[in-house]
């Protein structure tokens, strides 16, 4: 009971501290901007730990963060193997193939007005569908190994990427196009010097959306069959064995991989579209 009371006390004092920080005079500085969410996140972990210990929550319902952390480090080789299988082989290869194919298709579609009018509404429609449902089909076609996971990822990222790239290629103003015409510039100079650079913010938007989709696709596809490794496989079998500490460790890995993947793409975006108003300092 002591621990539960302690948890409540910590929660309340965190809140008072954060309100002080957020309304204090230095609230707009970078340090405070970073420390407020950090304090919040840390408090959640501490309160979680104390509540699990204080209330004696069984492992099969919720393991304590310290328990998850211990499992994370003791099972590091397995987790690394799973990450390789799901992220490096399945998600990443599918991401590259899918986004690359969508990019090339977008360039092609953009050249023909008829195709653009036809494919864009269809693409928008498909982008809203539960494409992850193609996973059982693709697993049957491409087998249990990473190839089928990559195929699911390709299908999942293709349309969001296509729609974003096509939209981006239309992003130029009439004046910018007229300028190109006054130079007597043909299709390729206009594409490489004007329309592709102008499309970059949109292309990166598609690439960023696709990072999350890629991981989801690769993990969920493993629920339909996989070799005896991979994050989705480990999650579903560990859930079956009620080894929730392992599930949580795997979720930590997924969260780290997901944010790292997104972060890398966002960093590249920052260096490519430094000129865009949203990126300027």
């Amino acid at each position: 009971m002591m621990l539960v009371v302690l948890a409540l006390l910590i929660w309340m004092s965190m809140w008072v501290l954060n309100v002080r920080l957020a309304t204090g005079e230095n609230a707009n500085t970078r340090t405070i901007g970073l420390s407020v969410p950090a304090i919040f996140g840390l408090t959640i972990l501490v309160v979680w730990e104390l509540l699990v210990r204080g209330l004696d929550v069984p492992l099969v319902i919720l393991p304590a963060p310290s328990h998850v952390l211990a499992t994370f480090f003791s099972e590091l080789p397995t987790l690394w193997l799973d990450l390789q299988q799901t992220f490096l082989k399945g998600a990443l290869s599918g991401y590259i193939i899918g986004c690359g194919a969508a990019f090339l298709t977008a360039i092609l579609v953009d050249r023909y007005d008829f195709l653009k009018r036809g494919l864009l509404p269809v693409g928008n429609f498909v982008a809203a569908l539960p494409i992850v449902g193609t996973a059982p089909i693709l697993v049957m076609w491409f087998g249990f190994d990473w190839q089928s996971k990559a195929a699911v990822v390709v299908v999942m990222v293709f349309f969001p990427m296509l729609v974003n790239t096509v939209a981006g290629l239309q992003e130029t103003t009439a004046m910018q196009r007229d300028l190109m015409r006054t130079y007597g510039a043909g299709y390729w100079p206009s594409l490489t010097k004007l329309r592709l650079p102008a499309a970059m913010p949109f292309i990166f938007n598609g690439l960023k959306i696709s990072t999350t989709l890629a991981l989801i696709g690769a993990i969920v596809a493993e629920f339909f069959g996989s070799p005896t490794m991979g994050m989705g496989f480990r999650i579903s079998t560990s859930v079956g064995q009620l080894a929730l500490d392992m599930v949580w460790a795997e979720i930590v890995v997924a969260a780290l991989a997901g944010s790292a993947f997104y972060g890398v793409v966002a960093l590249v975006e920052k260096s490519v579209t430094f000129w865009h108003p949203s990126q300027r300092k």
Binding site: T173, M175, Q176, D178, L179, M180, R181, T182, Y183, G184, A185, P189, K193, L194, P197, A198, M200, T273, F274, W275, H276, P277, R280
Partner: protein, 263 residues
């Protein structure tokens, strides 16, 4: 003076342009005839809808007239566009935000296939011409509006076109910056001997800059008056207080008013 000092570079004869819109056809240009000689500074002035910008775009080959003839350097406007006969300056600077100022000026040079060394030479030269030499490595969004517009003029000057088409280039700038750029433009014109066609809706600007002022009026877009300016080529800013200047400005204003009588 160059041997072809008085040769005609742009010649429009009975030009007509009708836009087909959803409700009714718009007669943007009607029976427009005008000759522009080498080295002229011609201003087009008139209320909005008078066709001054449309006429400039016809010269640039960006619009196709529906009647009459138009030659630029003895070619059709479209041939002249492909031969890169002119530099065009738009209302907004329209610099690419992802290129530096120098990179923006290089853009036409890259498209037209100049060598790397030649590109750098020319960029340095035109940056000097518009007094932006220290800003080549900056990005457009780091510069003021007036500096951006100067860079866009440099971009239009970078290749060897002897015609400069300018569509209200200083329209979005404040009066003080505009005065300064007008002075600079006159100096630049004197130094390069280019032929300049300049669209504006400011009477003082038109009178101060031009050797020839073309007054236009709307519905249908047409020329109502062409005024040859008696002002000397050397024009300090305070020439705008001289009686000659005021008299021409008065005539332009009369021409604009006459065009409005049918409203």
């Amino acid at each position: 003076m160059a041997p072809n000092a008085n040769s005609i570079v742009i010649s429009a004869n009975a030009l007509d342009l009708t836009f087909q819109t959803a409700d009714a056809p718009v007669h943007a240009l009607k029976d427009v005839s005008l000759d522009i000689s080498q080295g002229d500074f011609v201003s087009f002035i008139g209320p909005s809808g008078c066709g001054k910008t449309t006429f400039l775009r016809c010269i640039a080959g960006l619009e196709t007239p529906t009647g009459g003839t138009l030659t630029v350097n003895g070619m059709t406007a479209d041939e002249a566009r492909r031969a890169r006969a002119y530099g065009y300056v738009f209302q907004a600077a329209g610099l690419y935000p992802w290129r530096t100022i120098a990179g923006n000026i290089k853009l036409p040079l890259e498209i037209m296939g100049y060598s790397r060394a030649e590109q750098n030479d020319r960029v340095a030269r035109v940056l000097d011409l518009v007094e932006l030499s220290d800003f080549g490595a900056k990005f457009p969004w780091q510069l003021s509006g007036g500096m951006q517009q100067r860079a866009s003029i440099a971009r239009a000057l970078a290749f060897d076109a002897d015609i400069l088409l300018m569509d209200e280039p200083f329209g979005a700038l404040d009066e003080i910056v505009r005065d300064h750029l007008n002075e600079q433009l006159l100096a630049l014109w004197a130094r390069t001997n280019k032929t300049i066609a300049f669209v504006t809706h400011s009477i003082p600007e038109a009178v101060y800059l031009s050797t020839k002022i073309v007054v236009m009026s709307p519905r249908p877009g047409r020329i109502t008056d062409v005024i040859e300016s008696p002002l000397p080529k050397e024009r300090p800013l305070d020439i705008r207080d001289s009686p000659e200047f005021i008299e021409i400005a008065h005539r332009v204003r009369e021409g604009l008013r006459a065009g409005h009588e049918d409203d």
